[in-house]
């Protein structure tokens, strides 16, 4: 497993194929705006959903209020940029720091809440932030929202075409992926999974359950906030109704659960499949009958979950591994009979 020499060429091929596909997609996106728009959302949500997966998947704490951190990120960087001329590149980090502090508080406050009670608390928390953002109109301009003037420049994190945003969102997704991959393979990943399985057993193995849960919440919030900044810079307009929209929380959780909860590739697969479906249905049916595209999306979800209750990625992985194991067995039997 750990870096055996024979594996590295295969590894390299895998990465080259992925990199090639991504480059091709970006190049094609350069000529097709709808496609590029999909790419931005896919990459953005790969990162967001991956960030959610830290607390929701690994640690098994089903948050449906992560838009709180998303909104903190987008509002912090935008207000710093508009009021003080601070570049969103720095603003994103300030937003992340602020989200970390808030997540620390929320983490401790909700530590003893289990299951549905934890979920409800996170939903309520995000709602509170949305209401605050609406009512503190002196700072946030309230419900009317804040526009970011279009001044395309790398330093402003604003790009002329969509390709710049595709690369920005991709960079975000890659960073979150790398952090989660590291976590997945080291102590924290094992500890969070253990906490998800059984807190009592975890404690008997020397795990400080409270600290690790709060740490997971903080890590998750930090990357969610950065995603919020990326989104704000892409849309160039923020308002409480969308920056603190429940549907963002829901999508983050949904993509991870759909792709495979608590697995490294789950959120990636989930976002890559569901964003295009969502966008296609919205564009095709969104205009004809209000809500029809949502109903159809729900149908797609129900069917998939019924077919693959563990999520798409683990199911496919299990299938492929099963095939490999069978073919190896066949080979062994073949050799045995000779």
């Amino acid at each position: 497993m750990d870096g055996k020499k024979t594996k590295s060429p295969k590894f390299l091929i895998k990465y080259l194929v992925v990199a090639g596909a991504v480059c091709f997609a970006i190049a094609y996106g350069n000529t097709n705006a709808f496609f590029a728009h999909n790419l931005v959302l896919i990459f953005l949500y790969m990162g967001l959903s991956q960030a959610w997966n830290i607390i929701g998947g690994y640690a098994g704490q089903l948050s449906l209020g992560h838009v709180a951190f998303f909104g903190i990120g987008s509002y912090t960087s935008t207000l710093l940029y508009l009021n003080y001329g601070i570049t969103p590149w720095i603003g994103a980090l300030v937003g992340a720091a602020l989200a970390a502090v808030v997540a620390y508080g929320l983490g401790w406050a909700t530590l003893r809440l289990k299951g549905a009670y934890f979920t409800l608390a996170t939903i309520a928390f995000a709602e509170v932030l949305r209401i605050l953002a609406t009512n503190f109109s002196g700072i946030t301009k309230g419900a009317q929202g804040v526009g970011i003037p279009f001044r395309p420049e790398l330093g402003n994190m604003i790009f002329r075409g969509k390709t710049g945003y595709v690369i920005l969102a991709l960079g975000f997704a890659v960073i979150v992926y790398l952090v989660c991959r590291y976590m997945d393979r080291t102590r924290l990943g094992y500890y969070l999974a253990a906490i998800r399985e059984d807190e009592t057993t975890s404690a008997s193995m020397g795990i400080n359950v409270a600290n690790n849960k709060v740490l997971a919440m903080v890590l998750s919030a930090v990357f969610t906030a950065i995603g919020g900044t990326v989104y704000a810079q892409y849309i160039l307009f923020i308002e409480p109704a969308s920056e603190f929209s429940y549907s963002v929380s829901l999508n983050m959780a949904l993509f991870a659960i759909f792709g495979g909860l608590g697995s490294l590739y789950g959120p990636i697969v989930g976002a890559a499949i569901l964003i295009p479906i969502q966008e296609y249905l919205r564009v095709t049916f969104g205009g004809s009958l209000p809500g029809l595209h949502l109903a159809m999306f729900g149908l797609v979800l129900i069917i998939t979950v019924l077919l693959m209750p563990k999520g798409v990625f683990p199911t496919i992985q299990g299938f492929v591994q099963g095939r490999i194991a069978r073919s190896q067995k066949k080979k062994l039997r073949g050799e045995g009979s000779q």
Binding site: Y190, A193, D198, T200, M205, G206, I207
Partner: protein
Amino acid sequence: MILEAIGVSKSFLGLQALSNVDIQIAEGEIVGLIGPNGAGKTTLFNVISGYLKPTTGDVLFAGDKVTGTRPHRMAHMGMARTFQIVKPLANMTVLENVMVAQFMKGGRTKEVRELAEHVLQQVGLYEQRNQTAGTLTLAGRKRLEVARALAIKPRLILLDEVMAGLNATEVQQTIDLIHLVHKQGITIFIIEHIMHVIMSLSHRVIILNQGEKLCEGRPEEVINDQRVIDAYLGEGFSLA
């Protein structure tokens, strides 16, 4: 003394589960804890390992007062325990279960994996290492409890009925395992209902009845004690 309980009492909403229990265990001992169902044995383990705060009384570990210290701190100090109602990390593999425990001792994932594999070889679960823990048989799960406890390299290990529900062969394997653990210098405090096992394994036996320490002594002394016979015969037990 590696472990001392001084006047430990524990009540649950009026139910007196432990009353004024004194216990001393020296380093290197194997001490058995017996008593009828509901006597308070598991409660005593929970108090010692930090899962429950005693209503009154103190717990000392290696001379330090540890009353009410949280369980994960106790683990770091060198106290391991198993659970009577087995608690595997059911959706993780057997190897991952032990790796989680092994991580407490630090090291890179690769080293942790190797050390965990070594522990699994010791307890005889190596072949099942890639199975999810939830698919193990009861005997396997009991073994996994011991493996996790061993992985944190404890000074004292509390074993709560690790042989309940096992067949004769499995019981014998577990006895051998406990001897092996003891040879590594680990002190053992063990709850067990199977009388011949506790009698042959323990240097000393403590009897708990209705939350009180009835008596203690070498196995052959205790077995002939009239109070013990009464407590057990009342419960329909046989000492043979």
